[in-house]
Every structure is written in structure tokens, then in C-alpha cells.
């Protein structure tokens, strides 16, 4: 197995593109190294992205905040602009593992690991985040919900990595929130995760909403019906009931020791309702 630590994105892309066999980029390694060790993965090449300075940036751009692929969660969660503008995304990345895991893990790694239960992804989907993909054929911008395609699979092509994620700036009176459900108080895999972002007009009517739902299907879902349930309403009880029903309807989870199918379906709705209330309160303050 080869292990390379390039200093630039271009070098990383070249290494990944030219290598044969199984190749992996590695950011924090908190997913990859664990899989490596349990024998599920035996790569021929690992390309460490953490040494690429350009990937460590968090920069304010005209249309949003750009977060580099090597930024550890711990750092993102101390970034004042990120916390103020994207509390839902920060809530989600702040839930990944423990302090000890957050010192290394990245939001982009969480996305590219393509686990249906990944915490940051429903929040990123709700925030309308855009991944910047760099590869041998140049750069393209892709909505995050199009990155994971199946558990453990992404739409990235050979030689491509995600360089950064853009969190688009929100209109006034917008708010977002992320809630997840786990059986233990911390350090556990989501049974259900819900990210909600919504925007109100001056009269308090919801004009836009996005709902990301995790751990209840093979990939994180962008639930259009759930957004429709909120748009045009004052996010009152009736709208919340419709939201919950839409989320439960969208959920097609599996039975496992963390929760039965019926339970997960029900919790998807309950949690969505609670997340929407938090997002609403935030929108009302912004």
C-alpha cells in the first residue's frame, strides 16, 4: 500500500487519477482508517489531503461561506460566521463522534463516506450546499444531495475529489436546524436525522424551505413534499402535522437493533416537527 501526502490539489488529483487499483483520498481518516482496519478495505494508494494548505481555508465569498475539505469539524464549530449563518450545519458537524474524533474528521469526509446516517449531510442538503469537485477534467459544482448515490458510493469519478463546500448565504428571515435521534446520549449512529432550512416573508409566511432526511433510506433524502408542507404556511400546527406526515411517508428505513421500521418512520415525523420549530424560531430572529 502506498501513502502519499501531496501539497497541492493538482498533485492529489494526478496521483489519484494515475494510480491503478483501489485508491482513496483521505481527510481525517476517521472513517477510512476504521474500515481499513476491519479488513473491509485494502487500498493500493491512500492520498492524504490534510497536507494541502488550500483545503484548510474557510473563506467568505460573495454568495456564501466556502469550507475547505480538510477543515476539521472542531475548527468549523469555532468559526463565528459559520455558527451565525449555518447553525444547523454546525449542529450537525458538532454531533459527529466525540471531541477526539472532531479534532480530525471533516464535513467533506462525512459527505464522501456516503453513509445514509451521516450527520452533516441532511443539514447540508437543507442548507442547499454546493460541493466543488476537482478532477482531471477540471472543476464542477454539484449540489451535495447528488454526491452520495448509495451506501458507501458517490457520484465522484476517478481522480476527482471534493475541494470545498459552499454554504450559500440565506435571505433575511431564514433559519435552519438539525436534530438527530440516537439511543445513547452521544457517540452513536443516527437512527433518524433531520435538517430543515426555511425562509419567511415579512408577514411570517414561509416562502422557501428545504428538508433533508437521514438514516431512513439508502441515501440522505431531499424531501420535496416536506418542504411543500411548509411553504405558504405560517409553520403552524397544521403545517407541522403535514410536514411530519410527509417525512414519515418519505422514510423507508431498515429494521435494526437501533430501532424498528415503525419506530423510525414515526420518529422521522416527530423529529422533523421539532427541527422545524427551532428553524422557525431562528428565522423569526434573523
Amino acid at each position: 500500500m502506498r501513502f502519499e501526502s501531496p501539497a497541492t490539489v493538482a498533485e492529489a488529483v494526478t496521483l489519484l487519477n494515475e494510480a491503478t487499483g483501489t485508491v482513496y483520498p483521505m481527510a481525517g481518516g476517521t472513517d477510512l482508517l476504521v474500515r481499513l482496519r476491519s479488513g473491509f478495505v485494502e487500498p493500493d494508494l491512500i492520498v492524504d489531503l490534510k497536507r494541502i494548505d488550500a483545503l484548510h481555508m474557510i473563506v467568505q465569498e460573495a454568495d456564501g461561506l466556502r469550507v475547505g475539505a480538510a477543515v476539521p469539524s472542531a475548527e468549523l464549530n469555532e468559526h463565528a460566521d459559520a455558527l451565525a449563518g449555518w447553525p444547523g450545519v454546525c449542529e450537525a458537524t458538532g454531533l459527529i463522534g466525540s471531541t477526539q474524533v472532531q479534532g480530525r474528521c471533516t464535513m467533506v469526509g462525512n459527505l464522501c463516506n456516503a453513509s445514509p446516517a451521516a450527520d452533516s449531510v441532511p443539514a447540508l442538503v437543507a442548507a442547499g450546499a454546493i460541493a466543488r469537485v476537482v478532477g482531471p477534467n477540471g472543476t464542477r459544482d454539484v449540489p451535495v444531495e447528488e454526491i452520495p448515490t448509495a451506501p458507501g458510493r458517490t457520484s465522484l469519478k476517478k481522480g476527482e475529489i471534493i475541494e470545498s463546500v459552499l454554504l450559500p448565504t440565506k435571505p433575511a428571515h431564514s433559519g435552519e436546524a438539525y436534530l438527530r435521534f440516537i439511543p445513547r446520549t452521544e457517540m452513536d449512529i443516527a437512527v433518524v436525522g433531520v435538517g430543515i432550512s426555511l425562509t419567511l416573508d415579512d408577514s411570517g409566511i414561509c416562502t422557501d424551505a428545504r428538508v433533508g432526511l437521514g438514516a431512513v433510506a439508502a441515501t440522505v433524502l431531499l424531501v420535496e413534499d416536506a418542504a411543500k408542507a411548509l411553504i405558504g404556511t405560517k409553520v403552524d400546527d397544521a403545517a407541522l402535522d403535514a410536514l411530519a406526515a410527509a417525512c414519515s411517508a418519505a422514510a423507508s428505513p431498515i429494521n435494526d437493533k437501533r430501532g424498528t421500521i415503525e419506530f423510525r418512520v414515526e420518529i422521522a415525523g416527530t423529529l422533523a416537527r421539532r427541527a422545524a420549530k427551532i428553524a422557525l424560531a431562528r428565522a423569526q430572529q434573523n
Partner: protein
């Protein structure tokens, strides 16, 4: 191929604890391994290799991270600090170490490096963090011993100055063996092998049950470059081990057929780099899966796994007193129900490990164990050697809780080292540890209890089926103990209890804090709530009314004239109970989906072996130069035997405890203090220590010809004796020495008095019972089914608290395990074999725990002390279930009470109005 790649990679350079180092290893290697095995920092612990336990936490450029999820290649140029380095160089770490000592925040100490390193990072950031910040910083580090609260206290009190008192019986002194644990120098079983020691790994069967054939082992050995392959053919002695006489049924290597998933069929031995890189799925063995049973109900259909155990029934237990069926028929109210619990994994953070070396015709094994002499016996039989040829030198033990009583890793390295005449080491991976070590028995219990109209229990019937797994281990103990305890600490004049241990194709069930008693309490205590509710009697009052008092016969007809302390436990809880109920009522009056509940439960536990001799021996001596040396063979697995036994001995001899040198367990130099289990060490070994101290004191007083209350001091080559008549000096070199080591030596034994049980289970099974009652306060989110614990209040009759600080530690640790049992833990073979699927409580799951110590004394115990270890968790889970019922109206009878089950129970109860009361 991997090796050639390494060759052209340069070494990785970084700063390690202030010194520049260069480490040669594959850059994708986990940093935890490289630091331990290549850079020698063995204070970095490995509990899971998957980011789940935090034991490997180090600082990289000041940030706490898991070394096991970091690649060596990623730290080129980094600054790395570990516990030992921090302790040596950082004043914050030194203060923190002192605070850990004061608060007894380290029990076994295996989690301590991760805890301290994480806390140092926090304390560097802010010197007085609040509790939430501490919990956040420690959230990724698991501790199975302490229940976390003392660790939180220690971090928040870092820099504090109050010193613990030092003294004998009754003094809350810090552990005598604490410093290595808080300074990074403690050595556990995986920490003692010399560099270059050969490594052993086990080839384990992936099926629940299978026949198998081995292929061409010689060719495999040659191709892979191994030094040795071991299979059943290489076992020189009798290929079976066990812990109960007559039930030695477990082979170290399966012989033609495996009986549970993970059973070993072979071992490979070679250099670390070769053995660790092997893909053992390529090992030449072909399996033929056989019909298997994972549940007792299916066990009769798969053929007998052990000769003479018809229908795979290992054994049964039985206790009968009066006429239970008649009493239940005439009872005013009867509560009944079916209850079940699953396999519970011990989840110590230190996986099983051992290293062995051959010394002439003897074999020496260093290992983490709770029972060195039993290990010695077992290895001698497996290897066909006389017992004297086996020496067990225990290392520090990173948690045991019952599972490190049985042999696990030891025989393999003993055999390999014997054959190769070279040292050999083995360490189980977390997955091996969870999938093959013994478990708490799953239980299926039905119980009926009846009371008369004024709330007096008239009778109870109990039937318990226990899944004992593929081999007996401690299964017979569970089958015997449960019927004796299933009444709870309550007067039950008419009683019938039956138990059965059934073999299935799972890891063996063995000893785990309580030997089946926590499971039976999970049936009896909820039913007590049902009876109290049906009769309209307060739940605490109902229990107190029925609690055993001095002079009352237990269900085996045993009568204690003194020391039955359960009534006092309820008495001291009463004000807390009233306060908690009032708080809950106030909170619930506000309405909402989150409801508060309060639950109570009692428990009892007989200390020591059931109706069997279980002696302990303590040896002590005074050297020529005036050192008092205590040979203390009771394994300290974190519970504090080293400290407690020393305190008892010091008090008996009448010398300061900090002047005593302790020689730990080593089968060559320290006599047998029995096993650390069944809450017996303080009581049994403590009594031996008392007798030994008293005997030595008597000899000295005789020497000086003075009265009993003279003061003794030893030191500077002399013994001084002082009384009203002044001081007399006895230079040790003027006395005729007892032997070459000691001028004065005493060796004393103690065996608790018990009597055999008759055919109805009547008799005197234990010399002493410890009793306890606990209150759980919690909130249930009715919509989500989640349970948030608010407080546990634990009353414990310990007879006499030898060390109140250690008592609190035991209670809090036991309560935390009870929380896991109640709310989240369940081992499912093949499914929950690591610490992210098998969940144990984290710091956020354990609420404040208030310990109320009751001292009712004891007829036999040293200074009136009883044992404590097991009792702590018995009432916790039932108190939690009773509180869930109080909060939500829903009874969860099948554990763990995970949110989906709680929610389902809430839905079921709202849907069926008949079940509402």
C-alpha cells in the same frame, strides 16, 4: 508487497513528549500502534482500534485526537503529547493527577490516560471549566469502572488543595496504588512484552456451529513465514478448562466441532509484522456449518452438545419453602409477569492479553486476571504440568467484572512459549474480546407474587431460564444463586423458585457482577410495584413493610440475628423518596410531552461462594531492616483491594497504613487469596488480613509482655512498643528470624462459615448478605421514547465502610453498569461485536449519583464489613424500569428499554385501556 513499499518510504519524524523522534513504519499504520510498539509510549492505551473508546487519546499539536484513527504518515512534523509526557512536563497534568487521586477518578486506570489527556486539553483552554464543558471534553472516552462522576469531579477540582486523610479502617484515603495510573506508568497486560516478542493470533470459526477440517498447515506456515501453528493436536494435557469442579468442558482449541461463533480452531505465531498483516480468512481450514441454536427454546432440537446434559440442559437450581401455590391462591392480590434480558458484555476497556515465557521446565504467564491461582490450576491441566511448574504474574487489570476469572488468552501463549522456548504475546482485538469472552446470562423469567389485603407478601413463584451458551463457565453458579435470591430481601414465607441453565451456540455465559441476581430482581421488583399500586400503598412503604428484619428467616431458612440492614436502607431513602415524588409531581403539573418518574427497588447479595468453602490466605512479615511487608494476593481489578486489605491489616496490626510495603499477587510469592468475585475480597480476604495483622500484633505484644492497647511501631531495624510503662525497643537483629525473608512472619487464612443446602434448597448458603435500595429519577419523552436520567440515590448497607471513598466508587461504577443493562446494552452474536454497536454508557448517560452508606455491622466481617461489588447494580435497572412506568404508565419487561421499546410500550398502553392501571 506492503513491505517493499515501506522500504522506500522515509521514516516519519515528529516531536514526542518534547523529544524529536523518527519512527519507521508503514505510513498508513495506525498511530496508536506505532507509538506503543515502535516508539515505546505504552501509556497510550488501545481499547477498540475504532475511535469508539478514546483510550488512545493523545494531543496532536495540542488537540485531543484518537491515535487509532490517525495514520502514522499524517503526523510528520507534528507535536505529540501523551499522558506520561504531560505528567512529566505540564503542571496542569500534575495538578490533574493529584485531583484524580483525591477523587478516586481512576479505578482500574485503563481509561485514565485518555481521560487525563482530554482533560488537559480542556484545562489548558480554560482553567475552571463548567460541568457541561467537562462532559463534552470527555464524551468520547469510555470508562466502565467509575460511572464517570468522580472523573468529572476531579477535572473540575483540578488545582484544589484539600488532602485526603491517610489511615486504617474507616478512612476515605486515596488508593495506595493510584500514582502509576495517573502518571502513565501503570502496566497492563498488553504493556509488558519486550520489544520483538513473537505475536500470537487465533484463527476463529465464523459460524455459530461447524464441523471443520484443517488443510496443509505446513505449507501455510512455510509460505507465510510463521514460527508456529498450534491446533488441538498440540495440546499436551487435558484439552478442557472450566471454573466449577465437574463442569470443565471448554477446549482451548475446538476438537472437530466448534460450538460458538469465534471459537478458536488454531493459533498462528510469528514476528509482529508478519502475524499482524495476515489475512486469517486465508488460513487452511474448511468449515461445514451445523444446525445451531441461539435461544434456549431451540436448544433441545440440535442434539446434545455435552455428554450427560440431556436436551442441552446444563443444570437446574431449586429452592422451596412452605406452599407457594396455596399461598398465591389465597392471596388478596397477585401480580405476575414475564420478563427477559439479553446477553450483557462486560465491556472492560482493556481487552484480554497475556505474555508467556518458558523458564527451564516452568512456564511463566503475565496476564490480566481476576483469579491467578485458578488460572495456574487450569493451565497446569491443559499443559499436563504439575501446578508448581506454572507461575502466574498478574499485571494491572483494566477492568474485569467477572469475565477475567475464566482463562482466555493465557493458555495459548503458555503453550506457544513452551514449544518455541521463546516469549510469546497475544492481545485480543475488541471484536475477539466481545465475541468470545463470557457474558451475563440472558434470562427469561416468569414470576407471580401474592400479598394479602394489608400488603404483606404471602408467597412467590419464580421460573427462570438462563442461556448459558456453549460451555458451562459459571453457569452452575448462576443456576444455584438465583433461586436463593429471587425473593429479593423480603420475607416470603411460601416460595418456590426453579432455574435452568440451557446450552446454546453462543459465547459462554459466565460471571458478571451479580451472577444472575440482577436479572431476577428485574422480575421481582416491578411486580412489587404492581402489588403496591394495586393495594394503594406507597411503593417504598410496601417494600419496607416486607423487608427482612433480624430474626426473620430467608427463603432458605437462614436467620440473621444481626446485620440485616435492608430496612435501614429504605429508612435513609425515605426523605429522598418524598422529595423526588414531590419534584416529579410539580414538574408533571406543567404538562407537556416530557414526563418525570420516580422508581425504587431493593436488592441483596450473598457474599462469597454459595455453600462452598472459599478460603483466602494472607501472609505478612517484618524484615530485618524493619519493613512491614504485606503479601496481598487479592487481585485489585480497580475495585481497591490493595487499599482496603492494607487498611484492614494496618488497623489490626496497629501501624500506619502508609508504612506498609505491598507485594502483589504472584503465585510464586503470595499465597492464594482466592478469586476476585462474588463480593468476597473485602469480606473473606479482609478477614484473613485482619487475622494476620492480629496474629502478628499478638506475637509482638507477647514479645514485649505488654497489654493489648500498647502502641507498636516498626522501622529502622527495630520494633518499638509503647504503653503506660514507657517505650521498649527490640532491634530486629537480636530476634531469632522465622525464615530467611522475615524476622517475624504471620500467615493466616479465613473461610466463611456456610452450610450445604438440602434437597429443598434450605440451609446456610452465605455467611453474610449485603443489602441495598436505590431510587431512580428520570424523564421520559413520551413522543420519542427516550429516557433521561436525572439522579440515582443509592443506599447501601456495607456493614462497615472500610474506605468510604472506595465504597462510593464501587456504587457509582455499579450504578453505571445497571444503567447500561436497563437502557442500552445487548450483545447479539455476530451483530454487536464492537463498541459502536454494543453501546455502554458514556459520560452523558450517567446522572449524579448520591451514595448513602448504611453501617449495620456484621457478625463475621472484618470490623463488621460486608462485601459490596455486586450489590451496586442489582437495584439500578429495576428502579429505572419502575420510574419509566411511573412517568409514562408503560411497563417495559424486555430489556434493554431502548427508545423504540419504550415508545412501543407507551403506544400499547394507550391503545389498551385495560392495562392502564
Amino acid at each position: 508487497m506492503a513491505l517493499t513499499d515501506i522500504d522506500h518510504q522515509p521514516g516519519i519524524s515528529f516531536s514526542l513528549n518534547g523529544k524529536p523522534v523518527r519512527v519507521d513504519g508503514p505510513p498508513s499504520e495506525r498511530l496508536s500502534y506505532a507509538l506503543r510498539e515502535r516508539a515505546g509510549t505504552r501509556d497510550v492505551k488501545v481499547g477498540c482500534d475504532a475511535g469508539d473508546c478514546g483510550a488512545c487519546t493523545i494531543l496532536i499539536d495540542g488537540n485531543p485526537v484518537c491515535a487509532c484513527t490517525t495514520a502514522l504518515g499524517q503526523v510528520d512534523g507534528a507535536v505529540i503529547e501523551t499522558q506520561a509526557g504531560l505528567f512529566a512536563a505540564d503542571p496542569i497534568a500534575k495538578d490533574l493527577a493529584a485531583s484524580f487521586q483525591r477523587h478516586q477518578a481512576a479505578q482500574c486506570g485503563i481509561c485514565t490516560p485518555g481521560m487525563m489527556v482530554s482533560a488537559v486539553a480542556l484545562l489548558r483552554d480554560r482553567s475552571k471549566p463548567d460541568q457541561a464543558a467537562v462532559e463534552d471534553a470527555l464524551g468520547g472516552v469510555l470508562c466502565r469502572c467509575t460511572g464517570y462522576r468522580k472523573i468529572i469531579d476531579a477535572v473540575m477540582d483540578c488545582g484544589g488543595t484539600t488532602a485526603n486523610p491517610v489511615g486504617g479502617v474507616g478512612t476515605p484515603m486515596a488508593r495506595v496504588d493510584g500514582l502509576p495510573k495517573v502518571s502513565g506508568t501503570e502496566r497492563f497486560a498488553d504493556d509488558v512484552a519486550a520489544e520483538g516478542t513473537l505475536v500470537l493470533r487465533l484463527v476463529r470459526c465464523p459460524h455459530h456451529r461447524a464441523g471443520f477440517e484443517l488443510g496443509d498447515l505446513d505449507a501455510y506456515k512455510l509460505r507465510t513465514g510463521l514460527d508456529l501453528i498450534l491446533t488441538v493436536a498440540d495440546v499436551p494435557g487435558d484439552n478442557r478448562f472450566g471454573v466449577i469442579p465437574g463442569f470443565e468442558d471448554q477446549p482451548i482449541f475446538a476438537d472437530g466441532e466448534t460450538r460458538f461463533k469465534g471459537e478458536a480452531v488454531a493459533a498462528v505465531v510469528g514476528s509482529a509484522d508478519i502475524v499482524n498483516a495476515l489475512d486469517l480468512t486465508e488460513f487452511p481450514v474448511t468449515y461445514t456449518p451445523l444446525p445451531h441454536a441461539l435461544l434456549p427454546k431451540d436448544a433441545a432440537g440440535i442434539g446434545d452438545m455435552h455428554k450427560g446434559r440431556d436436551g442441552n440442559v446444563m443444570c437446574r437450581g431449586f429452592v422451596k419453602r412452605g406452599d407457594a401455590s396455596a399461598a398465591l391462591q389465597s392471596a388478596a392480590v397477585v401480580a405476575e409477569g414475564s420478563f427477559s434480558t439479553g446477553f450483557i458484555e462486560h465491556g472492560y476497556i482493556e481487552p484480554e492479553a497475556a505474555v508467556a515465557r518458558r523458564v527451564g521446565d516452568r512456564i511463566e504467564v503475565q496476564c490480566c486476571t481476576q483469579a491467578p491461582v485458578m488460572n495456574q490450576d487450569g493451565i497446569a491441566i491443559l499443559m499436563g504440568l504439575p501446578k508448581e511448574s506454572v507461575r502466574i504474574i498478574p499485571t494491572a487489570v483494566g477492568g474485569g467484572f467477572g469475565s477475567k476469572l475464566d482463562l482466555t488468552a493465557q493458555p495459548y501463549v503458555a503453550l506457544a512459549a513452551w514449544v518455541l522456548n521463546k516469549p510469546v504475546r497475544v492481545t485480543y482485538s475488541r471484536i475477539e474480546s466481545i465475541s468470545t469472552s463470557t457474558k451475563r446470562h440472558p434470562s427469561e423469567i416468569t414470576m407471580r407474587i401474592g400479598a394479602d389485603a394489608d400488603g404483606t407478601i404471602v408467597g412467590a413463584e419464580f421460573d427462570g431460564i438462563f442461556n448459558t451458551g456453549a460451555y458451562a463457565s459459571w453457569g452452575p453458579t448462576v443456576a444455584n444463586r438465583v433461586p436463593i435470591h429471587a425473593s429479593g430481601p423480603y420475607k416470603t414465607p411460601n416460595y418456590l423458585a426453579r432455574s435452568a441453565g440451557i446450552h446454546t451456540n453462543t459465547a459462554p455465559s459466565g460471571a458478571f457482577r451479580g451472577f444472575g441476581v440482577p436479572q431476577s430482581a428485574l422480575a421481582q421488583e416491578p411486580l412489587y410495584d404492581d402489588l403496591a399500586d394495586a393495594l394503594g400503598i406507597d411503593r417504598l412503604e410496601f417494600r419496607r413493610r416486607n423487608a427482612l428484619r433480624n430474626g426473620d428467616p430467608t427463603v432458605t431458612g437462614q436467620v440473621f440475628e444481626t446485620g440485616m440492614g435492608i430496612v435501614e436502607c429504605f429508612d435513609v431513602l425515605e426523605p429522598h423518596w418524598k422529595r423526588a415524588l414531590a419534584d416529579a409531581a410539580t414538574a408533571n403539573a406543567k404538562g407537556g410531552t416530557v414526563r418525570r418518574g420516580v422508581g425504587i427497588a431493593g436488592g441483596w447479595y450473598g457474599c462469597g461462594n454459595t455453600s462452598l468453602s472459599n478460603p483466602s490466605t494472607i501472609r505478612a512479615g517484618i524484615t530485618l531492616d524493619g519493613h512491614v511487608v504485606l503479601h496481598q494476593g487479592a487481585m485489585d481489578i480497580g475495585q481497591g483491594a490493595n487499599t482496603v486489605i492494607a487498611q484492614i491489616f494496618a488497623t489490626a496490626l496497629g501501624v500506619p497504613v502508609d508504612g506498609i510495603d505491598i507485594v502483589g499477587p504472584d503465585t510464586d510469592v503470595t499465597p492464594d487469596a482466592g478469586k476476585t468475585s462474588a463480593s468476597r475480597q473485602t469480606f473473606v480476604t479482609g478477614n484473613a488480613a485482619r487475622l494476620c495483622g492480629e496474629a502478628m500484633r499478638a506475637r509482638i505484644l507477647r514479645l514485649a509482655n505488654v497489654s493489648g492497647d500498647a502502641e507498636i511501631s516498626v522501622g529502622d531495624g527495630a520494633i518499638r512498643v509503647r504503653d503506660d510503662g514507657g517505650e521498649r525497643l527490640f532491634p530486629l537483629d537480636t530476634l531469632t528470624p522465622d525464615n530467611a525473608t522475615y524476622v517475624l512472619e504471620s500467615v493466616e487464612s479465613y473461610d466463611p462459615p456456610t452450610l450445604p443446602l438440602d434437597e429443598n434448597g434450605q440451609g446456610v448458603p452465605y455467611a453474610v448478605f449485603g443489602t441495598t435500595a436505590q431510587i431512580a429519577e428520570l424523564e421520559v419523552d413520551l413522543e420519542l421514547g427516550t429516557v433521561k436520567l436525572l439522579k440515582i440515590t443509592a443506599a447501601h448497607d456495607v456493614g462497615k465502610a472500610i474506605n468510604p471513598l472506595l465504597v462510593e466508587g464501587q456504587v457509582q461504577g455499579g450504578v453505571a453498569q445497571g444503567i447500561g443493562l436497563a437502557l442500552m446494552e445487548e450483545f447479539l452474536p455476530g451483530r454487536t461485536e464492537n463498541l459502536h454497536d454494543y453501546l455502554i454508557p458514556t459520560v452523558g448517560d450517567v446522572p449524579p449519583i448520591e451514595t448513602l452508606i448504611v453501617e449495620s455491622g456484621d457478625e463475621h466481617g472484618p470490623y463488621g464489613a460486608k462485601g459490596l461489588g455486586e450489590h451496586c447494580l442489582i437495584p439500578t435497572a429495576p428502579a429505572i424500569l419502575n420510574a419509566i412506568k411511573h412517568a409514562s404508565g408503560a411497563r417495559v419487561a424486555h430489556l434493554p428499554a431502548t427508545p423504540d421499546r419504550v415508545r412501543a410500550a407507551i403506544l400499547a398502553q394507550t391503545q389498551s385501556p385495560s392495562a392502564k392501571n
